[in-house]
């Protein structure tokens, strides 16, 4: 079943640490409005914070698109973190717990993936990086098996 949503995507800039704070706040508000529980909100906002910081630090800045989506009767939120930075050469490696190219803990990408229901990484050397995640207000295992 395709994921469809109303065309009300919000785009926010990711260019400074003040932007990161604003992104967290807006995603929290949107998720709360869609009916996400407190733990779900916290997981999603934390994942978003990791991914937006990667956009800022590794990607040289970019933007995030916030789109409410629905599948069957379940509501969710899709977040795309977009930059036109150097891209990621070895995706497997970047997604490994503890791998960092800088002084980080290397938990951002791998940890964010664990905190959401769907995770997609579109990147390549010189192509920039887009990370798209979706979280649903309810766990729907049947819908996730991909029929």
């Amino acid at each position: 079943m395709p994921v469809s949503g109303p065309p009300v995507a919000t785009s926010l800039p990711v260019g400074s640490d003040a932007d990161l704070a604003w992104v967290r706040q807006r995603i929290r508000q949107t998720a709360a409005g869609l009916g996400f529980g407190l733990v779900q909100q916290t997981k999603l906002v934390t994942a978003a914070s990791e991914l937006a910081r990667n956009t800022l630090v590794h990607g040289g800045g970019g933007h995030v698109e916030i789109t409410p989506v629905t599948r069957d009767t379940t509501r969710g939120l899709r977040l795309s973190f977009v930059d036109s930075g150097p891209g990621i050469r070895d995706v497997e490696l970047a997604l490994t717990d503890g791998h960092t190219s800088g002084g980080g803990l290397g938990l951002g990408l791998s940890g964010a993936r664990r905190l959401v229901h769907e995770f997609e990484l579109d990147t390549g050397p010189g192509r920039g990086t887009t990370v798209t995640v979706v979280a649903w207000t309810a766990d729907v295992p049947a819908a996730r098996s991909g029929e």
């Binding site: 733990v39 916290t42 997981k43 934390t46 990791e50 910081r53 951002g108 791998s110 940890g111 964010a112």
Partner: protein, 136 residues
């Protein structure tokens, strides 16, 4: 005192209570504010000779790997300056999220609230008390 530099988020208050510094984090910290806090706390430890630091995060609704790392580094640098750090008031949703993120911060001492954090620090300071009390 409360006027932040333009372009800087407001500073975090650090309060001295006897031999303990009480740091209260509120709301959404900007990265720069969190980094500034590490400097502020370490300087205050040295200036005041504080033996303990309590960091109250009950007002914090998100701890990501950046803030988690800052908390761990504050505790580490305080330890090198002979002060114990206790992080108190973590919200349940934050604890659940940190575990799933993979950031369990094993080096951090925690307590449920400020009162218990203070008590923990007093109990873990036997050296001074023993020296005064028993003279063994």
């Amino acid at each position: 005192m409360t006027s932040p530099h333009p372009g800087h988020a407001a500073a975090v208050p650090v309060l001295a209570l006897g031999e303990t510094l009480l740091v209260t984090l509120q709301g959404d910290l900007h990265d720069r504010t969190a980094e500034q806090l590490q400097q502020d706390v370490t300087h205050r430890i040295v200036r005041s000779g504080a033996a303990g630091v309590v960091i109250d995060i009950s007002g914090v609704d998100v701890v990501d790997s950046f803030l988690g790392r800052v908390l761990a580094e504050i505790a580490e640098s305080a330890r090198l300056l002979a002060a114990h750090t206790v992080v108190v008031g973590m919200r349940p949703a934050v604890a659940i999220t940190l575990v799933e993120l993979g950031l369990t911060l094993p080096g951090l001492t925690t307590a449920l609230d400020v009162e218990q954090g203070m008590e923990l620090l007093t109990r873990s300071r036997p050296a001074a008390a023993d020296r005064r009390g028993r003279g063994t």
